[in-house]
């Protein structure tokens, strides 16, 4: 099923001063694909994700999201970002707002929905992540796993067609990892286009349509989970997998 290309990255370069973090990255992600990014810490996985929604400004190359050129200064980034949900390692819930207010802020402020519509959508996604009873709680009253599920619901409330996950379970206690992964798995099953940075190899094997291994600013190896995780060819991939498995 070769669907639409949702994300097109060609020859992406990103430097921080003298440090060249991304040297030459090219990648296409088609609709409904779940791409899992693997790579050692510091290899630029977060930087890559953050370039996709322009939280970082690329130093070179091109990024097209649904055909919108993210490196063109005439592109309305805010508008494109409405269609790209992002989930962060440290949740980044708005601490001064209740769970429901976290979910409705962006839809209401961007005029995507009235308050009533936004709250209805909010309830729908809270139910989906199993936290309807926490609508009026503040983030400080939630566990890590609950916070991350709220963060996912918050992103979904904008009805994005792409979701980016940056190590969504790395800051969680082990017993809470499962609840977040199962929400993500459900999302993948529903056909969401996803790019996921994670060290959860089990998740990659079960859910990924493609696994990409990054190191040293390049894509070293990519393929199906079978190919990359069970039968890696590159020495650096083999070395990395032997450490995380």
């Amino acid at each position: 099923m070769a669907g639409n290309v949702k994300i097109h990255v060609s020859n992406l370069v990103k430097r921080f001063g003298d440090l060249e973090v991304l040297k030459d990255i090219s990648m296409d992600v088609t609709e409904g694909e779940v791409v899992v990014l693997l790579g050692p810490s510091g290899s630029g996985k977060s930087t890559f994700l953050r370039c996709l929604n322009r939280l970082e400004t690329p130093s070179g190359g091109q990024i097209l999201i649904d055909g919108h050129d993210m490196t063109d200064k005439h592109t309305d980034l805010n508008k494109v970002r409405e269609n790209i949900g992002m989930v962060f390692q440290h949740f980044n819930l708005f601490n001064h707002l209740t769970v429901m207010q976290n979910l409705t802020l962006a839809p209401v402020e961007t005029k995507k929905a009235t308050r009533a519509e936004a709250e209805a959508t909010g309830r729908k996604y809270l139910e989906k992540v199993g936290l309807l009873d926490k609508a009026n709680a503040y983030p400080s009253q939630l566990s890590g796993g609950q916070k991350q599920r709220v963060a996912i619901a918050r992103a979904l409330c904008m009805h994005p067609d792409i979701m980016l996950f940056d190590e969504p379970t790395s800051a969680l206690d082990p017993e809470m990892v499962g609840e977040v992964l199962s929400v993500m798995q459900q999302l993948a099953r529903d056909g969401m286009t996803m790019v996921v940075v994670t060290h959860e190899i089990g998740f990659a094997r079960e859910v990924a349509s493609r696994v990409v291994f990054m190191d040293g600013g390049y894509i070293v190896e990519q393929g199906t989970p079978e190919e990359v995780i069970l039968h890696p060819k590159e020495p650096r991939t083999i070395d990395f997998l032997s450490k995380v498995l």
């Binding site: 939280l55 805010n78 409405e82 949900g85 962060f88 001064h96 802020l105 961007t110």
Partner: protein
């Protein structure tokens, strides 16, 4: 002291009213200036950052009394020199300008530090949802920054209230200036200045108690 209260009590209370008027007007404009220049110092734009820093450094480098003289005597000359011959500035206007500029610089620093104390992830999460920089700042970052800023802001308000006394030098009839006149007329300096000091103290204690209440309420509501 009793004699002073009898004869000049109403005058000194009125002078306290002028002091509060000067302080509140200045605080209002200082908040606007502080917000503007504080934001300039935090946006990702070198030119804006420099403008913010220059304002803060320039104002903090000037003693308030010099600034007051400059605004009161210098600015009207400057504007008249530009051709607006009938331009006049009274001591309230000059006082508010000088004090707002002064307090605004400290407020800018407080607001800059407050914004920077909020985790960067808050802004990033807001931007990632499609909110503009302004919306993210005013709906997400500033409401959280305010919490950490409140003690410093209260402190700055108290300093500014006391700094109104410096504006006695340009002849504004606030409490210190009035006390000077009273003690010159009646000749009871000890009593007059004691009363003056107590009046400042009482107002400041009341204000800081009220502010503490507000602070507690804001911190509870989360």
């Amino acid at each position: 002291m009793l004699r002073i209260i009898q004869i000049y009590g109403t005058m000194m209370v009125a002078a306290m009213g002028q002091t509060l008027l000067l302080a509140l007007l200045s605080l209002f404009f200082a908040c606007l200036l502080g917000l503007f220049f504080g934001l300039l110092s935090t946006v990702r734009n070198r030119a804006c950052n420099i403008i913010g820093a220059v304002y803060v450094d320039a104002i903090r480098g000037w003693p308030l009394i010099v600034l007051a003289y400059f605004v009161y005597f210098g600015i009207p000359m400057l504007i008249q020199g530009l051709g607006f011959k009938s331009f006049r500035m009274d001591s309230l206007q000059a006082g508010v300008i000088a004090l707002s500029l002064n307090c605004g610089a400290y407020m800018a620093e407080i607001i800059r530090a407050g914004i920077q104390s909020v985790d960067k992830g808050q802004m990033e999460a807001a931007r990632s949802l499609g909110l503009s920089y302004g919306k993210s700042m005013f709906k997400v970052v500033l409401p959280q920054a305010i919490r950490t800023m409140i003690p410093s802001i209260i402190n700055q308000f108290i300093i500014t209230l006391k700094d109104t006394s410096i504006l006695s030098v340009i002849g504004f009839p606030e409490l210190t200036n009035t006390t000077k006149n009273v003690s010159a007329n009646v000749g009871l300096p000890m009593q007059a200045w004691l009363l003056c000091g107590l009046m400042y103290m009482v107002v400041i204690i009341i204000l800081s108690k009220a502010s503490k209440n507000i602070e507690r309420r804001i911190n509870r509501g989360r």
